[in-house]
Symmetry: D2
């Protein structure tokens, strides 16, 4: 139950703390022959890099990716790809006093309970910084998916009570918004709202929606490795995510079967659905329409506002968490959600290749005759 590894065929193992030498990921099971270099991965990392707007931590990190193995003459070799990002801006002194008490909403207390002690610098392993390694791996997964016609796209759907209706937005606008919120009016309102939250030394939560386009039908599994169950695990493993829902999600509870069932039709030479309440998944298996899910992100637990807490020995005290923290985690988590979705989707896509004997027979017949 080694907890830092995810995936069966395309498998990733992350390592590293917020304030150690660096963080990294080993990708095992990446197929041979993908064109890959640091610039491709760096582009993904730059989307979660801190210090880009006033709504993200002013911690300056270039988050420069290094490829340590697995690439030869510009292509993946099929062997493990080891990726590393060195920590640059550590300022551990900011954190030394954290060793003595427990920050509300943080994992300080639970780490001590599990391991007996903890690396208290910046949250150690439970820092959001760990997600940079996930994005590096996610970049590789996304690149492979693209060559198979599958595209994963996430955006900021909601910050506080400011929400956007994606059906009225242009996808291109996601990257135009500093908050990755494709309705630019809403995005501007959210920026203003975040300014006020910052001023109050507070933080706020939000919702990210993710849409996977081009996934063939038949991907996933009927029982424990359902497509939605696997995505749920991957997305819920992102630190601040507290819930996930597919298609109509929690709204399903108040609707009738006749409203929620997606009727089938035949169109453009294939079987399709009139609607997509299900979010593209039936019985844990993709139905060929878009996969749609939403994840809720809790407010950043680090706030400068004074809070009650206790020391590690149980003495009552108060705390104001200074340092460099985002008033909202949502925008920087968008590419993390995309990454975790891509890693999961790719793993299931590859595993689906062995579902049918006739497909397996055709594969080996072709391989033998090459």
């Amino acid at each position: 139950m080694a907890g830092s590894t995810l995936g069966t065929i395309f498998s990733i193992s992350t390592w590293g703390e917020s304030h150690g030498t660096g963080i990294g990921v080993v990708i095992d099971g990446c197929p041979a022959g993908l064109s890959l270099d640091t610039s491709i991965i760096q582009a993904y990392l730059d989307r979660r890099k801190p210090g880009q707007t006033k709504y993200s931590t002013p911690r300056k990190e270039s988050d420069t990716i290094q490829i340590l193995s697995g690439i030869f003459e510009g292509k993946t070799t099929g062997t493990p790809i080891s990726l590393m990002i060195q920590n640059e801006s550590q300022r551990s002194q900011d954190y030394s006093e954290l060793s003595n008490y427990y920050r509300p909403g943080h994992a300080d207390f639970t780490y001590d309970q599990k391991y007996g002690f903890r690396d208290y610098r910046g949250g150690g392993r439970s820092s959001g910084r760990e997600t940079a390694a996930r994005v590096a791996a996610g970049a590789v997964a996304c690149e492979i998916l693209k060559t198979l016609g599958v595209e994963v796209c996430a955006y900021t759907k909601k910050i506080g009570s400011i929400a956007v209706d994606y059906s009225r937005c242009k996808k291109e606008n996601i990257l135009s918004s500093p908050l990755f919120m494709p309705d630019l009016t809403a995005s501007a309102q959210a920026e203003e709202y975040l300014s006020s939250v910052l001023q109050e030394q507070n933080s706020v939560g939000g919702i990210i929606e993710c849409i996977i386009h081009g996934l063939p039908s038949g991907i996933g599994d009927p029982v424990f490795q359902k497509l939605d169950a696997s995505l749920a695990k991957a997305i819920m493993s992102i630190g601040a995510v507290k819930g996930i829902e597919f298609g109509e999600g929690f709204a399903f509870s108040e609707h009738l079967g006749s409203e929620m069932n997606d009727s089938f039709m035949y169109s453009n030479g294939k079987i399709q659905k009139y609607s997509n309440h299900a979010g593209g998944i039936l019985g844990g298996i993709s139905d060929g329409s878009e996969i749609i899910f939403r994840a809720v992100i809790k407010p950043t637990p680090s706030i400068a506002k004074e809070q009650k807490t206790v020391t590690t020995t149980g003495q009552p005290t108060t705390i104001q968490v200074h340092g460099r923290h985002d008033p909202v985690i949502v925008p920087r988590a968008v590419v993390v959600v995309e990454s975790m979705a891509a890693i999961t989707i790719l793993d299931l896509l590859l595993s689906s290749m062995t579902a049918r004997l006739d497909h397996i027979q055709a594969f080996f017949k072709k391989i033998r005759s090459i």
Copy 2:
């Protein structure tokens, strides 16, 4: 990526179709020495047994559990426990015409896409009947957890728009309600509502809440095997579940950090929290307070109301799904949610035994000196 197995230390593998010989589960990694017999498991199964109220399928199944291995002289031996339930009321003829078209909201189409063909009788493997095997395994997990002071309790929180406030209910009332809804007034209203839904040949969704009491702090993992991520996968792998949220869940999106952080205090000789917005999990690890999550269940897809669909060759047609179907899945899914939660919690609880070298050393020192 064998999709019918879940868990690492306490691991379950289910098998069986709705209309084959039977269904079953193999539990591997169950510790030796647990007192177990069929009556203990049967009591859990009886809670999801069909045919008990007019709001569940009239299909009559005794769901009698057989223990095929792993018990000797009334105790588990540490070797695999094989459990089987024979199918009794198969009436496959009800389903023969289903081979020709795709039921909206069902996995018929996606199965054909994945496997090339399907066992069309009663949904085959994607039938809700598969969950009986999960409950049999969950019973074993629950019994072990009880001996460790951990209790898993789920109930029907919502059917349609009728919801209950658990803080005002008595836990004992859960079993008093035919819908497992502990507010008996709401339960009666929900029954009335279900009657009208049935009359309209329709179905409705709902929400189940689950509370885990007595879990020690320090259980779970900081990265991919987070306690909440693992629970999310297990619960989302139940057929009709379309979303899950922990603690304040989706409401986190509209709240401030200062409202949502749970402050620590020292009380009754230990560090506790003033509130439990987090649902008992910080950084993927239990904090010693109650674990709380909610799962949304979609309306039963099988409805007698006429729906548009296509045949397997893409011809448009209409369908009325007759047969024996529940107008709401929620009540019978309550014990399934408990079971999946118990299986997951137990697996993580066992894995936590190896987190600290001093604990390991003490364990083996004691074993050697026995």
Copy 3:
């Protein structure tokens, strides 16, 4: 670390004790579309069935296989295949006194040490009977491999000091010998030798050789999942196996590199090797020549000859293990070795489908256009 499951894509989980209700196996990940019925599996099981010669236990078991799930209209559905063999001839009374002492060479003592107590009837889970479940699963693996042009063949190479030279034998003779020893003169000698061993209330060991024909090159993995490492685990997991060697095996220790390297040549339109000292595996990956390995089987530990031992409380005593035991395990283990090899080979063969991006792209391009 659920110990009764083996394999990643094609995965098997066995259950059952020698003297319980029965034994069985759940196969998860079997591709859809394989023609399968009980008679196909039964033919494999009959090769290890007891009571066929005087050199095997006179315990009478029909070992009748039942298919409980996973087959529909004569074909595998892609969902778990549950197979069961009911125990018929249990005679548990033979074993009741075994609860009080430890048989030399058996797992009685180590079971008690691990689990605190044991099912003492006939060795419980560590009985050779557990291998019947492996053979049932192996039959399915062998049938799939056949459709892919891969054939697994094992035979008795040695019993005591009587050995056969396979290069001088006809493969057809394997089944002509009651000991599965294809040199029929040697087989007759071995039978005579076994008679004398039986008369002395003793037992003897031997060697099984296995040859896998038709495996494409490129199957296996360079690091921990090497083809030979994976086979070694699978074969060494058979109870009485105490060693395994590939190609020249232990003889490699006394030879020079110039003698042991297999030179490459180009012949019949492909790259081949002049010799096959390596046993068909280079760097953990198949090279297209035959895979060859040998496993050594220890003498049956159950012997009627008097042996010293202790009671479970440590009192010295003597023991004569009566009951129904084979004087040599080798012949009945031949099909078990084939089965474990087939299960392993198939799992690696399926996993190789995702090694190259161009193959993956071609696969999905074809699937989408169907």
Copy 4:
């Protein structure tokens, strides 16, 4: 089936090629609280470092270990330990011509068959250099085992036909011999023999024996995760190993049950065995005596002697493998065998903590009361 990861609870993932930036390993599941620094790991690495005698490759590598994560204030934190060794002496130009043909006995051909192309520099991932990462992880496993009273010790038993009898040797002499052969007379003979082999531009194989002392009884598993099966996989995954045997090993084939069964006795307050033909394992579970196994190592495939081969396009050619190669792999593999054994033993030792409910109950009772 990510092939570069081994282990379930204590899990390692290696990465890196012979001639890339470096090689490394991520250890996941290492318990918190172990004192660890680079010097401890370096001592293990120095035992396999090249360039120490004339019988090992003159390639100069300091093999300096870096700890990138998982240690805080001198102790393991319970989170992944990332270890890296930078490659220093790459001289890739030695290898450029290797891109055009296939070296006999090497994985060049099989890599091309699996992946479509290969990193031809020094064998890439199948280089013996990958084992340095295993030794780094093995060092950590050995250190943990020591604190639990378990010691893993391997030595060179045989080079060519020169073998040593360990029962007549002093363990201390292992490190006194440049070949790790504890009979110093035999060691001197073997050195002389290796000189002649070198002069003939040839190489030779040998045997390593490994003894594990202090392992409690009850460790291992009865079915697929048998202690011997798990060790076999780990040891056979070392590149040049072509066979493994436990206790009497292949000699079991020629002996009688009465000779090979180890009788039990009661001595020094516990149940022990008169002999240890079984090599310390009964039914896949440790019996409290020493675990003993031997692995055979093939001759180094890289020899300067002229050999026949083909180019990658199938043209016949001859090859003399120059470069920097060991005439025998055995001595440098000794610490690799120890490492793989330690990693495997530790994983099974940790997993045994959950075998009995009474032990689990006592563990959590104690934890809760702390």
